[in-house]
């Protein structure tokens, strides 16, 4: 019993110690961000590797999610004779929830793990130490550009996911199931609101999810035990923690935005 309590206490202390270290790390990264104004090329390069190289999975997933929404939405709406509202249902679902959340989960799996593995590998092979000894701060040169790039890339990917998803829904609803083309677009145009749906959903959620995922990913990489097992464990933690954080934050943000 004593051992159990001691173990629990130790785990709790470890958890809070790591949480504190993560927050201090975030402050140091944020302090390094203004310096990037003088070297935008570093961020652009990372937007390419985190954002552009995630495009394929985002586009394909967006298309399938949109098509499923079209099928399921049609089956439900047709019961009430409201299948003309399919465009609205697909667009609202994607803009407010599925677009930012699913693209964030995919982003965590594709780009977040790559960030953790890359930084963890650089640590394990002493590349970060070598930079320090060359008087180059790895936080400024390696971590900060990746952190900022992920925040830029995430809302853009969420927007692309949503746009492709709407097209997927259109393909299923109008192309396959015979929903009226004009009703699909006109209801969407009339009821989708710029601030409430687009800005709240894709932009704000996208930026928040991007910031959280990139924070977790770069911290896990930087804090990884410098061995192959350590980097592997850090990469796994990035996916698990990012996914849970995205889903939890989505609930909080939805509560704040739409109620």
């Amino acid at each position: 019993m004593t051992d159990l309590l001691a173990g629990l206490g130790r785990r709790s202390l470890d958890f809070f110690e790591r949480l504190g270290r993560g927050h201090l790390f975030l402050l140091r990264v944020l302090a390094s961000v203004p310096g990037l104004v003088r070297r935008p090329g570093l961020v652009v390069k990372q937007v390419w590797s985190t954002g552009v190289q995630s495009l394929i999975i985002i586009v394909i997933s967006g298309a399938f999610v949109g098509m499923v929404l079209g099928l399921q939405g049609y089956n439900t709406l047709v019961t009430f004779g409201a299948e003309e509202s399919l465009g609205l249902v697909v667009a609202k679902s994607l803009l407010r929830e599925l677009g930012p959340v699913v693209s964030a989960l995919l982003f965590a799996g594709r780009a977040g793990t790559a960030l953790t593995a890359e930084i963890g590998f650089m640590k394990a092979t002493e590349q970060l130490s070598a930079m320090e000894m060359m008087a180059v701060d790895p936080l400024r040169r390696i971590v900060a550009p990746r952190f900022v790039a992920a925040i830029i890339a995430m809302p853009l990917l969420a927007a692309i996911f949503t746009a492709v998803g709407v097209l997927g829904g259109y393909f299923c609803g109008v192309g396959l199931l015979g929903v009226d083309d004009g009703s699909f677009w006109s209801q969407m145009q009339a009821k989708v609101l710029l601030m409430e749906d687009v800005v709240n959903g894709v932009v704000i959620k996208g930026v928040v999810f991007g910031a959280v995922i990139s924070w977790i990913a770069v911290f896990e990489g930087y804090d990884a035990v410098p061995t192959s097992e350590g980097v592997s464990a850090a990469t796994t933690r990035t996916v698990v923690h990012s996914s849970l954080a995205v889903l939890g934050l989505d609930f909080v943000l939805t509560g704040l935005m739409f109620n």
Binding site: F121, M122, T125, E126, Q127, S129, A130, E132, M133, M134, A135, V136, D137, R141
Partner: protein
């Protein structure tokens, strides 16, 4: 033996006093004093796991001591503000055991990296400087290769070219000879000596390769059991009567430095029932 005396009577570049460093409960250094003279090759020898690499990290202020001071060029590196520490590091090159080349950059870009980070030079001048450094280590023709395409010896030479890119006052070599074939080892030995002689760089060489180190070192410290157990010129150490130094210098498997990791008696261990 005067361990802290400077045998060459030249100015001291690195002065370490009463250095203590612990990792968990284990003392890595227990109050060591050590001087590294300017312009000479000083070697730190000792068995694996005695903290030789840790000592280099303490000199580079990558880790902080539990107690004691490390002065480089007259300044305690552990009390410097971060910007001044980084200025100091520009004058110190370090060759890591693994080479630590940046894997996403070509050899040329690896050597150019510190130049691009710290100097605003025209591209033509960067090119000339990089080619000069690569020529010194014999890799000018390999400048477009990536680290994954290099052998271990080539990677270490490339890392050496990068370490001298900013013309440092001191280079720290972390196990430069480990894992090298005889030819690569010979090349590295010659390179370290040549760089020291021609550029006047102070060299700190951490190694457990006694024979190679003795051919180029001006002065050697032997570390063991968290202490400095011997110091002197290679000739002085070869003639040293201390059992620990003699065991290490002649490579005897057992002696004051035990072959076996401390544990319970062999017979007791064999007879003990598995838990």
């Amino acid at each position: 033996m005067a361990i802290t005396s400077d045998p060459t009577q030249s100015e001291t570049l690195v002065r370490i006093r009463n250095l203590h460093f612990r990792r968990g409960r284990r003392a890595i250094f227990d109050g060591i004093d050590l001087d590294i003279p300017r312009g000479r090759i000083t070697a730190i020898l000792g068995p694996s796991g005695t903290g030789k690499t840790t000592l280099l990290r303490l000199i580079g202020a990558q880790i902080a001591p539990t107690q004691g001071t490390v002065e480089v060029d007259g300044r305690d590196v552990h009390r410097l503000p971060l910007d001044e520490l980084y200025e100091q590091r520009k004058r110190i090159g370090m060759l890591f055991q693994s080479g630590a080349l940046l894997t996403d950059l070509s050899l040329f870009e690896n050597v150019a990296f510190p130049l691009r980070e710290h100097m605003r030079l025209p591209e033509s001048m960067i090119r000339s400087l990089v080619l000069m450094k690569l020529e010194m280590v014999g890799l000018r023709g390999a400048r477009d290769l990536y680290p994954r395409e290099l052998s271990g010896g080539m990677a270490r030479r490339a890392a050496l070219a990068r370490a001298i890119a900013l013309d440092p006052m001191m280079i720290m070599y972390d196990e430069p000879f480990s894992g090298q074939d005889p030819i690569s080892m010979g090349i590295l030995v010659r390179l370290i000596k040549t760089l020291n002689d021609t550029l006047g760089i102070t060299s700190v060489l951490v190694s457990h390769d006694v024979a190679e180190t003795c051919t180029i070192a001006d002065y050697i410290y032997v570390l063991s059991g968290a202490k400095i157990v011997g110091a002197g010129t290679p000739q002085e150490l070869q003639a040293e009567h201390s059992p620990t130094v003699r065991q290490f210098m002649s490579g005897m498997p057992d002696g004051p430095l035990p072959f076996h990791y401390p544990g319970k008696a062999y017979l007791d261990d064999l007879l003990e029932a598995p838990r």
